[in-house]
Amino acid sequence: MTHPDFLWRDPDPKPSYDVVIVGGGGHGLATAYYLAANHGLTNVAVLEKGWLAGGNMARNTTIIRSNYLWDESAAIYEHSLKLWEGLSEELDYDLMFSQRGVLNLAHSLGDVREGRRRVNANRLNGVDAEWLDADEVRKFCPIVNVSSSARHPVLGATLQRRGGIAKHDHVAWALARKADAYGIDLIQGCEVTGFDIEGGRVRAVRTSRGRIAAGKVALASAGHTSVLAERAGIPLPLQSHPLQALVSELLEPVLDCVVMSNAVHVYVSQAHKGELVMGAGIDAYNSYGQRGAFHVIEAQMAAALELFPIFSRVRVLRTWAGIVDVSPDASPIIGRTPVEGLYVNAGWGTGGFKATPGSGWVYAHTIAHDEPHPLAVPFALERFTTGALIDEHGAAAVAH
């Protein structure tokens, strides 16, 4: 067997770039790709302190959906979902994007009302959404326990048929390969340690591999955004938390959709390879430790067994955590900052993976034009001063 071809070069940093993107995860790579593909900007570097897509891009549960409550969120997540629908072809790489349907279960009268309201709001925004009663849930996903004697009985669910999952590594590799083909430098093992700011404008980044001059600098650093922004003197309304996920041992196909429950507190899908992929809520405390407490996993497993008694003898293979940056209204922060030429794309919290192409698309536009993309306008940092929050705690809740 020969080693497969490398999909991108491993270049040394040049002294200067038009745009430097800080963070080589999904959003950073998508931003680089769209800077080149949509805006013709190729004198671009993506700086990654570790290895490409080794942070949250390697740690998420790959759920893709766009059934958010508010108009602003529905617009940006639906834009992202539409991009997903053409992305394998566009990037010439099988992303294993599988629109197998996402169920959000309702377990109480409040859940039912909230779910129905969300279905209506989604439809008004052109997002596909259906309401299923308990019997329809059973037909759509036979292994969910819809018994009325369950501790938290399933009373119904919202269904987004166009939602689903994708293979996260393939997404990162496909974006990296295309960005590299445009001549963009993907520089790994290069940690940004500071910024040169003169006259209120960013001039360069200081890194573990030397100073790199930059016309524009774009943060795409997820859980570490606060740390970086602080070095540029910008306080952000973000808190970093561990978000844990886990996989089971490999199973025969048993679950062909995504099931999420905010009330019982777990989300489950089965990856193409066969493992059950599960996640739930964040660990409560602030942390950069990329690990969480086991009692959180235990609660997650209890929730999974409540919904899927059939999984009672399934064994956990591996658990891990990523560091997510949570904003006060559970919506992202995208746009300019008080430092000219320095942009932020953060606060995706527990749900950034689904937004990968949409986030890259609007962020690239914002950087290229120094003007927020229309879909990004409501997500500007200023909303915490004006009070125009986009509260998605309801739609996002635990699971995002």
């Binding site: 309304p237 973000l238 409560a284 430790g289 009692h295 001063t385």
Partner: protein, 82 residues
């Protein structure tokens, strides 16, 4: 699982507590004089350091006392607040 030293009950498991975020956030002394940005700071912006952090915990399933802990956000080591 963290082991948190409650001043009342002694060392107890983390899941007896609820998290309260950054410690030492006082209500503004002259609220009527605050600018919108200062309000945004008070309401929304909290420190998010990678390192030692003063934070509040509530012993919800114990003596129901609020306490301040100094914890390292990478190692999760806890020490008496300084």
């Amino acid at each position: 699982m963290l082991l948190i030293d409650c001043p009342h009950c002694g060392p107890r498991d983390e899941n007896e507590f609820r998290y309260g975020g950054q410690a030492g956030i006082a209500y503004p002394e002259r609220p009527a004089e605050l600018t919108d940005d200062e309000w945004a700071g008070y309401v929304f912006r909290r420190d998010n350091p990678k390192g030692w952090f003063h934070e509040r915990w509530f012993h919800a399933h114990g003596c129901r006392v609020w306490l301040t802990v100094e914890r390292h956000t990478v190692t999760h080591e806890i020490r008496k607040p300084r």
